[in-house]
Amino acid sequence: MRARGVSLARLVPPFVSLLLAGLVATVIIALLGENPLHIASVMISGSVGSFRSLANTLEEATPLILTGLCVAVGMRSGLFNIGGEGQLVIGAFLAAWLGAKLPIANPILHVVVCLLAAGTGGAIWAMIAGVLRARLGAHEVINTIMLNYVAFISTNYLVNLPYFKKPGQIPQTFDIAVTASLPRLTFVYKYTRLNAGLFIALAAVFAVWIFLARTRLGFEIRSVGLNPLAGRVAGISVVRSMIVAMGIGGFLAGIAGAERVLGVHKHFISPFPFGYGFAGIAVALLARNNALVIVLTAIFFGALASGGAHVDMVTNVPRELVTVIQAVIILFVACDLVLRPRGRSNEVTTSE
């Protein structure tokens, strides 16, 4: 059923969904009494119109690439990991903790340690749901939702402990050491928050692509996703595949959290900036869970976010328009309005 590599025909329905979502946005803007063309031009100038906008777009895209991969890897194994949000928060907290407290003089080593710890934390968090699903059949969707809230609440507790908390009214950790900072790509734009995390995200895309397409375990994960029964008959450990897929997803989401802390915010704050985990679902869906295409869809949603912020600033259209557009895109892609073989239900479903 699934062709190897990128089949262009499979990307047509998402593209049509984008056009439809654009239409919905146009109608909403027109109903507000604003000129859709004007808003669109502001949106474009705020997302790709200058080096500054471009840097903002890529900065927003960086965590989305990672959370998109997180969702995609889970989906490829037939599991729906909607816990990217919580896994990201766990990673962010660990990165902020070790970034502030570890006395490591070598900047590369310090960053690597923080990234690995964040990834491992996210992986463990996701694997709780993976193990519960693989061993006990407990639905991973419910458990990842529950784990999201457990992550928000427990980090909220930790961040208020004197050991972590920077003195003051705001529940945030101490700033990370200079050695733990991801360098910012100031050659793009002087004051950008875009940082070397972008390259980490791109490396992750490549690694996931190779892993899924070229390794035995990757093949096993894809087989289990397509048909767990056939996989089991073929001697594949369904349990291992599911747990590994969740773990990899959690690792990537944890890295996304570390990127936000080490490259952008420089500390952990509770509640942690919200939404990258859920937006990752849109990123993965639109890319049909293809690792390479995720780069494009993440940049697209990054552009929406940075363009939307610009629109919010200079016009009367609130930035929440972007969230609405995102939701509409997800809905359209999920409904798969065009080109679906008759009588077959949507193939993005997790297999049961």
Partner: protein, 301 residues
């Protein structure tokens, strides 16, 4: 001393009921959808739509009951959206739910800024709020009545039997002449109406609408449904338990050494434990999440 204890006990009991109301509404709603076989993780978004529409209608019409009706109606509309996407178009039920949650988070703040001139929250004047009936808002009695009604309906009427049948074994129900997808559609729309009412309770209780004011209560309601083993009385009991944890957390704040976060975590952790089967396993309806197609004669999986 014992008088103080009694006073705290009574206020804790009242607070428990008040905190439970939105959960009772939404988990009863979740019951109708999930028992019919359609996963509804969009309860959070449906509640948010209900909270906003209830508040905005009361704000402009100065009629709180009109707000309540409007919230139920809008909740039902969003239920229709979820039902249409998942039943007619066979969209993945989880993805549709995620989209509805995002739609709720985005649309309500967006519209609030449009209607209330750039504000992400707004207050209701005292005369625009629901008058209390005894110690509670009238919606409280409606919520508990609804849960009881749902129990009677599900276990003592033909309609209820059909609802459960299409969630357990749609093909068997179909061969008995039950219109599977129609019943599922009604189940999902009912869940939207209930969640909308649960959402409407929030601004009438607090006196204002605020951005993302449901703050996860839709998911807690889902947890209550699961912890209550997918039946309305169980969900009601779980809602009261979670309401109690929340009320206790507020009462103890600053008074005890137990961190507030430990109690905040209760709904999520006990649900995971229940789902894993450690304390009396929660088993979902057998056909939940699977679209039903008549044409196919051989089940493929």
């Amino acid at each position: 001393m014992s008088d103080v204890g009694a006073a705290i006990g009574i206020s804790l009991a009242l607070a428990t009921v008040r905190k439970a109301v939105p959960l009772v509404f939404a988990s009863t709603g979740g019951f109708f959808s999930e028992r019919s076989g359609i996963i509804n993780i969009g309860l959070e978004g449906m509640m948010l739509f209900g909270a906003f529409s209830g508040a905005i209608i009361a704000y402009f019409s100065h009629n709180a009951w009109l707000g309540v009706l409007g919230a139920a109606f809008v909740g039902g509309l969003i239920g229709c959206l979820h039902a249409f996407a998942t039943i007619q178009l066979k969209a993945n039920q989880i993805i549709s739910g995620v989209a509805i949650n995002m739609l709720g988070a985005g649309t309500t703040v967006f519209l609030s800024q449009v209607f209330i001139h750039g504000e992400r929250s707004f207050s209701l004047a005292p005369q625009d709020r629901l008058p209390a009936l005894g110690p509670f808002l009238p919606l409280t009695y409606i919520a508990f009545g609804l849960a009881i009604g749902a129990t009677v309906f599900s276990y003592y009427t033909v309609g209820g039997l059909r609802l459960r049948a299409v969630g357990e074994h749609p093909r068997a129900a179909d061969t008995q002449g039950v219109r599977v997808n129609r019943i599922r559609f009604l189940g999902v729309v009912t869940s939207g109406v209930c969640a909308g009412l649960g959402g409407a309770y929030l601004p009438f209780f607090s006196g204002s609408f605020a951005k993302n004011m449901t703050a996860g209560q839709g998911f807690i309601a889902l947890a209550a449904l699961i912890f209550g083993k997918w039946n309305p009385m169980g969900a009601l009991a779980a809602s009261l338990l979670f309401g109690f944890a929340d009320a206790l957390q507020e009462t103890l704040q600053g008074r005890a050494h137990l961190p507030a976060q430990a109690l905040q975590m209760v709904p999520y952790v006990v649900t995971m434990i229940a789902l894993a089967g450690v304390i009396g396993r929660s088993i979902p309806p057998a056909s939940i999440g699977k679209p039903y197609e008549r044409e196919v004669t051989e089940a493929s999986t």
